[in-house]
Symmetry: C2
Subunit: 465 residues, 2 copies
Amino acid sequence: VTAAVAGAPARLHKRLADVVGAEAVRSDPGALAAYGIDATPLQRGKPSVVVFPTTTEQVAGVLRTASEAGVGVIPRGAGTNLSAGTVAHHGEILLVLTKMNALLEIDAENLCAVCQPGLQTARLGDAVEAQGLLYPPDPGSRTTATIGGNVAENAGGMRGLKYGVTRDYVLGVEAVLASGEVIRVGGKVVKNVAGYDLTRLLCGSEGTLAVLTELTLRLVPKPQASSVGTAYFGDLASAGRAVSRTLAAGVLPATLEFLDAYCIKTVEAFAGVGLDTSAGALLIFGQDGSAETVSADMERIADACRAEGATDIRRASDAAEATRLMEARRAALPALARLGPITLLEDATVPRSKLAEMVERIEAIAASYGLTIGTFGHAGDGNLHPTCVLASNSAEEVERAHRAFTEIFAAAIELGGVITGEHGVGLAKLPWLEANLGSAQMALLRRIKQAFDPAGILNPGKLGS
Amino acid sequence: VTAAVAGAPARLHKRLADVVGAEAVRSDPGALAAYGIDATPLQRGKPSVVVFPTTTEQVAGVLRTASEAGVGVIPRGAGTNLSAGTVAHHGEILLVLTKMNALLEIDAENLCAVCQPGLQTARLGDAVEAQGLLYPPDPGSRTTATIGGNVAENAGGMRGLKYGVTRDYVLGVEAVLASGEVIRVGGKVVKNVAGYDLTRLLCGSEGTLAVLTELTLRLVPKPQASSVGTAYFGDLASAGRAVSRTLAAGVLPATLEFLDAYCIKTVEAFAGVGLDTSAGALLIFGQDGSAETVSADMERIADACRAEGATDIRRASDAAEATRLMEARRAALPALARLGPITLLEDATVPRSKLAEMVERIEAIAASYGLTIGTFGHAGDGNLHPTCVLASNSAEEVERAHRAFTEIFAAAIELGGVITGEHGVGLAKLPWLEANLGSAQMALLRRIKQAFDPAGILNPGKLGS
């Protein structure tokens, strides 16, 4: 599949209208522009047509129509992904699932929820919390992003170390194959080895293997208590050692986030939350569980930070202060983004013990290319977000950043890491994937893609292509 | 691949000896008989030859030799699987990985261990415990089974509800494809979305997609304290309600096992641990964590049991008593096995809330077929082990049990469950898989199998065939 049928957009529009209804198909310039982008900078595509199905049958009909017409289909939710995973580069059909947004069931007895893919993650979170339950995955985009997008991207977030990522909470899916066939995999069962694990294979497949139309998600009891604290360090290496010391003390914190010196200054200038801008690194830590466990663990984390020379170790005195501290971390990206016309956010991940070394490598690479790169991220997961603020959007500067990131990814791989921990491959990371996986594994990914989608209809030109 | 090259076993033996060394190839009747079976009753196969590689390169060489000769290869560890997953039905090469049993590294800082597939699960468990860490998966066969077998089967066990299963602890694998190519997927990173999730796809693939040669496994800090207790109920429905009540109270127990009345009597007659043989059901519950959490949670579980009419709720007073209570549960299978010449252990799984209903269905089906079926299992996971003790090994009685299990699997599927929660599909469950997954998903499994193994060399005639 390389392009829309030449000269046939009007006919495609009409055939799709027969499937989803005329009011659910748009090919006006406004719609094509709005759905031509996702949250990735520097990437702008142009779909042929945008459709808004409301049922699984309509999704199947769209895929059959696309197959007949030889046009690609890009499924998407809110479009918050940061890897150009939903950008149309070949005039594809944009299949927007935001109208399939029902929360079908919260099943407290089986500790799970069933929903459609277009449901906003935060809405699910609020609904289950009202019943004393928790859906742990906590991606930064949770107030906007959809569950279907989270599953398709295997979204991470701030609770990875203790709770894992989206993949760890998907028990079952209904999905439509490129052929239009509907499969149901897994369900309300926590143990299941009946067949290959398609549930997890679809998780993180970025819309290239099937279209998700229903999700069964695992929940856990909501912890009784939680707490957040902060510690400042002279440098990131000390913060990294405090993380190791915390884990060695037998504590698995619910939150372990870090900001480097540049990010501390930038967030403080943006949000004015009272951060110590003279520090070399900030660690934001948190725990949840019973009140006694939270209290004991927070003390042990503070001890670990103190032993590594942390200054000004502080524990939020109430929920409002805890929220404010977490907001400082969440403000990192918007704070960096306002510093220049283009902000490139990356997502390299290394073994936790290599965090400080990786940050030093990033700083050296940034200096050698004359770039400003601040790094923040998930210290407990070794998941770094080196963020490059460009002074201009000149082709030369963009190209320079591109070359710097190539070196950053090579460093991550050299340290035993990967080029993306939670943002996905999409179009943006595809050029570096083979360096990470090797040619035999790349060929295997392509064969898996063909097993699901022999005609290459689903999100063409991305993962598995 | 249907059979060994006719008349060429001696040549195959010699070619394999060139790869792994003469001392590591056996085709004497003793070896062929010993490796012709695994732990599955009524299943006996006959491999052509048995090989014991010691390196990844040798594994790759065996696979290339097999491809050239057109002979299938069945990878196995200790052969404890219960679904005939490693039985040779077509004169295959038995690739025994027990000599590749090194524990390569315990990396406390990154909370992971790296090992070869032939390492015994209990040996890994003991080694990491000595460093204050825990490898949570806890299959019943852990003292015999190997990590590679656990991963290939996605083994479950007694900690599923709180800790998940083997899949949830595999961070990375080295694996040899049917072609002899070696891939490395994942590693010491807890977040990773670089490519399709091959790590989890290989987990539970039962040796049909690739041969695992190295595993990187996630560990957690060892809980400070743990405790085990028991509660007797008049019937299983009450025990099931106590489970629901426990979860509704916000407790996620580390252990929630059950025995029905028949299993209680059988275990007591076998092990003499002082069980109340007049009870309708026994619930064995446990929690781990900080001492305060364990104490508070055990009280809340006891409260939930009391509210559902449990009698004689008891908490182990020390570690020795806790071990004895868990032994009662672990004794269920051996106790049942000595009652007749053949004991068929099954593995249906339903949503947790359907546990009692499923046991009632099993009892009715057993009665209608004139069979004795006792049921025990993992109440927290809805994972039942209905176990049929045959009075004789007559073909008629085996066939009757087969028909009864067909009805049991249909009931599990009807209740939203699956035909196997943790034992795998193998040869034993394959006849029922399509009823569980549907024809479109079965066809997809076959295409995935072909993507990995186009010539069908790996564990032929099993999953994906």
